[in-house]
C-alpha cells in the first residue's frame, strides 16, 4: 500500500501548463524531498496535495482514499508555507494552537502542545508576540510550529528553513530528522538546499519545468544522476563537463583520450553523436601526473579548498580537503578514476553510464 500516490497530475494556469503529468508514489512513513529550480512547480504540487488548488487532471490518493476533490479542511494534512502565512492578528501561541482549536482539542492539551513545540523550535520567549514583531527567521520557525503542533497523516513543508542562518539551520534540520524518526509521519519536503535534500530525504524527486526528471534515493540521485540537468543541479561546486567525441572504442576531447571503465565503454556503443563526460569536483585529485593544467583560482572555504584549473579540455574545478600549497598560476596535474565518471549522451541529455 502506498501512503501517498500522485497519478498523472497536470495543472494549467491561464493557458500555461505548469505541471505536465507528475507521477510519484511513496510508502507510509517515507520522507520525500522535492527539489528543482525556482518556478518549476514545487509549491503548486504541494498546494494540490493540500487541496488548495484543483489539478486540471490526474488523481491524488492518500492511503486508500481518492482525495482529489476533498476540501482541504477534511484532509488530515499539516503544511508549512513558503511565505509563512502566519495569522497577523494572533500571537505566536495562538497561531500554533489554531489548528488544534479548529479540531476541538481541549484547552489544556493545546497549551501543553504549544509549550512542547515552542521548546523544540527555541521560540518560548516569543509566544506573546505578533508576527509583525518577529524577524524573518523567527517567523519561519512559528510557521513550522503550527504544523508540528498537529499529528497529521501527512506533513508538507515548503522550504521551511530557507531564512535561517547556517547555525540555526543545522539545528532545525536535526530536529526535523529526529521528529520524523520518532513519529514516522509521511512527509513531503521542498528545499533548495542540497545538504537538506541529501540528509533528510528517503527519496528525492528532482523536478524541472513541471516534470519529474528523476525520482530515487538520495544516493541514487547523487551517484547515478539520470540526466545532465540532475547532475548539474545536485552538487556544489557544480559538476565539470568535458565535451567528448567518440574515438575508436573510447572517448576523446581536444585530442586527449579520456579514461573509461569497461561498463562505460560498452554502453558507449549505443550513443550516436557527442558525449558529455562529467566529473564531480571531489572526484578530481591533485597528483604528480595526469591531466596537466594551470591554477586559475583558489577558493579556500575552511575545511576544504576549491581549486580551479585551466586544462586542455577546459576549465575544471577540484574540491580538495584542507588547504593547498599551490598558488594561482602554478602548474598542476589532475587525476581521477573512471568509476567516478558520469557519462551522458549530449543529444538526449540522458545518462549513458
Amino acid at each position: 500500500m502506498q501512503a501517498l500516490k500522485i497519478e498523472g497530475i497536470r495543472k494549467t494556469f491561464h493557458q500555461t501548463e505548469i505541471l505536465k503529468g507528475i507521477d510519484i508514489a511513496i510508502e507510509p512513513g517515507e520522507f520525500l524531498i522535492l527539489v528543482g529550480p525556482s518556478g518549476c512547480g514545487k509549491s503548486t504540487l504541494l498546494s494540490m496535495i493540500a487541496g488548495l488548488e484543483q489539478p486540471s487532471s490526474g488523481r491524488i490518493l492518500l492511503g486508500e482514499r481518492d482525495i482529489t476533490a476533498l476540501p482541504s479542511k477534511d484532509r488530515d494534512i499539516a503544511m508549512v508555507f513558503q511565505s509563512y502565512a502566519l495569522y497577523p492578528n494572533m500571537n505566536v501561541a495562538q497561531n500554533i494552537a489554531f489548528g488544534l482549536e479548529m479540531r476541538k482539542v481541549p484547552k489544556p492539551e493545546r497549551a501543553a502542545t504549544v509549550a512542547r513545540v515552542a521548546a523544540m523550535l527555541q521560540i518560548e520567549h516569543l509566544l506573546e508576540r505578533r508576527p509583525a514583531q518577529l524577524s524573518g527567521g523567527q517567523r519561519q520557525r512559528v510557521a513550522m510550529g503550527r504544523a508540528l503542533a498537529r499529528a497529521p497523516q501527512l506533513f508538507l513543508f515548503d522550504e521551511p528553513l530557507s531564512n535561517l542562518d547556517a547555525k540555526l539551520r543545522v539545528e532545525m534540520r536535526a530536529e526535523i530528522k529526529l521528529l520524523h524518526q520518532r513519529t514516522r509521519t509521511t512527509t513531503v519536503y521542498v528545499t533548495h538546499d542540497q545538504v537538506e535534500a541529501m540528509t533528510l530525504g528517503d527519496r528525492i524527486a528532482v523536478m524541472k519545468d513541471g516534470q519529474v526528471q528523476q525520482f530515487g534515493t538520495p544516493h541514487e540521485i547523487y551517484t547515478r544522476p539520470a540526466t545532465v540537468f540532475v547532475a548539474e543541479f545536485i552538487g556544489s561546486p557544480q559538476i565539470n563537463w568535458i565535451a567528448a567525441q567518440r574515438q575508436g572504442a573510447g572517448l576523446a576531447a581536444h585530442g586527449l583520450e579520456l579514461g573509461l571503465n569497461g561498463e562505460q565503454a560498452a554502453a558507449l556503443s549505443a550513443v550516436g553523436g557527442e558525449c558529455l563526460y562529467g566529473l564531480r569536483p571531489e572526484a578530481l585529485q591533485l597528483a604528480g601526473e595526469g591531466l596537466p593544467g594551470r591554477v586559475h583560482m583558489i577558493e579556500p572555504t575552511g575545511p576544504e579548498t576549491y581549486l580551479c584549473a585551466d586544462t586542455p579540455v577546459g576549465r575544471l574545478t577540484a574540491r580538495v580537503p584542507g588547504e593547498v600549497r599551490e598558488r594561482v598560476g602554478d602548474a598542476v596535474h589532475l587525476r581521477w578514476v573512471p568509476e567516478a565518471v558520469h557519462l551522458f549522451d549530449a543529444g538526449t541529455q540522458r545518462r549513458v553510464a
Binding site: A50, K73, S83, Y87, P88, M90, F98, G99, M102
Partner: protein, 292 residues
C-alpha cells in the same frame, strides 16, 4: 526613524511649509476666531464686543441644543455602527468571487457620488408613508403595513440614519473590500489546512486582520457623521418640529437663519471641544504606533 542626510536639509521643510502654514492657519485660525465669537456680542453679524459667557449659558439652557446633542449620539452611534456593519457585510459577500462583482460594487458605491441636494427629495418621497414604501405596500394589498418613521418625531432620526447609511456604506464596503483583498492569500490557505470552515476563517482571521482598516474607516465615517448637514437639511430640515436637529444644523440655523452668531459659535466650540476629546487620544495612539 529614517533620517537620511541631505545636502539641503531645509528643502523638505520648505516644501511642506506653504501648504501646512496655510492649512494650519485655516484650521486653527478659524477655530480661534470662532472661539472668540462665542464670547462676543455677535448677533446678525460678527461683533467683537466682549460678552463673556452669555452664549454658553444660553446654550446650556437651550432644550433644542440638548436634543441636537442627544440626536447626534443616537445618529452617530447607529450610523457609524450601521455603516460599518453593512459595509463589512457587503465586502464579505462581494469577496466570494461573485461574477457580477464590478456591477454590484458600482451599485453600492454610487450613492457616494450624489449630493444630498439630489437624493434628499427621493428619500423624502420613499420614506413618506403617503407616497413611498408604505403606500406601495398598501397598493400591493398589505393594508396593515406601516412604515411611518419619517413623520414620527420619535422615529424620524432613524430615517436620517437609514439615508446616511445608504450613502456611506458603499464607501465603507470599498475600504473593507480593499482590506480583505490585500490580505495575503496564503493566510487563507493556511487556515483551510488548519481545518477552519469559511465562516470561521472570516470571523477568526480575516476580519480581525482588518484592524487598521477599521481605524481608517472609523475616522472617515465619524467625520461624516459629525459633519452631516446636507443630509438632515434635505431630508427633514430638522423636523418634525426640530426632532432631527443635529449640532451642525443647530449651529447653522442659529448663526445664519436666526441672527445669533454668538450662540452658533458657542455651539461650534462645544462641538469641536467634544470632538477633540475623542479624536486627539485616538490620533495620538495611531501615530505613535506608526513610529514603532
Amino acid at each position: 526613524m529614517n533620517t537620511p542626510l541631505a545636502r539641503t536639509p531645509w528643502l523638505p521643510k520648505l516644501v511642506l511649509a506653504p501648504s501646512f502654514a496655510l492649512g494650519l492657519a485655516f484650521i486653527y485660525g478659524l477655530m480661534a476666531w470662532n472661539g472668540y465669537l462665542s464670547f462676543s456680542a455677535s448677533r446678525l453679524l460678527p461683533n467683537y464686543e466682549w460678552a463673556g459667557l452669555v452664549h454658553y449659558q444660553a446654550l446650556w439652557g437651550n432644550e433644542r441644543w440638548w436634543l441636537a446633542l442627544r440626536n447626534l449620539a443616537v445618529f452617530g452611534g447607529l450610523f457609524i455602527g450601521g455603516a460599518m456593519a453593512l459595509g463589512l457585510l457587503m465586502a464579505v459577500l462581494l469577496d466570494q468571487k461573485v461574477r457580477a462583482e464590478g456591477a454590484l460594487r458600482t451599485v453600492f458605491l454610487y450613492p457616494m457620488a450624489l449630493s444630498f441636494i439630489v437624493t434628499g427629495t427621493a428619500w423624502k418621497w420613499i420614506l413618506n408613508p403617503g407616497l413611498g414604501l408604505e403606500k406601495l405596500l398598501h397598493d400591493w394589498g398589505f393594508e396593515s403595513a406601516q412604515f411611518s418613521w419619517l413623520i414620527d418625531p420619535e422615529m424620524a432620526i432613524y430615517c436620517v440614519v437609514i439615508a446616511a447609511i445608504w450613502q456611506s456604506s458603499g464607501f465603507v464596503m470599498a475600504l473593507f473590500l480593499a482590506g480583505l483583498r490585500s490580505i495575503d492569500d496564503s493566510i487563507l490557505k493556511a487556515a483551510q489546512v488548519d481545518g477552519a470552515s469559511l465562516p470561521r476563517i472570516y470571523w477568526r482571521i480575516l476580519i480581525p486582520s482588518l484592524r487598521p482598516v477599521f481605524f481608517s474607516t472609523l475616522m472617515i465615517v465619524a467625520h461624516l457623521a459629525i459633519k452631516s448637514f446636507d443630509l438632515v437639511m434635505a431630508l427633514t430640515s430638522g423636523g418634525p418640529g426640530y426632532a432631527t436637529d443635529l449640532p451642525a444644523t443647530f449651529m447653522y440655523t442659529m448663526a445664519f437663519t436666526r441672527g445669533q452668531i454668538g450662540l452658533g459659535a458657542a455651539s461650534a466650540t462645544m462641538m469641536l471641544a467634544t470632538l477633540a476629546a475623542i479624536v486627539v487620544p485616538y490620533l495620538y495612539s495611531e501615530l505613535r504606533s506608526k513610529k514603532a
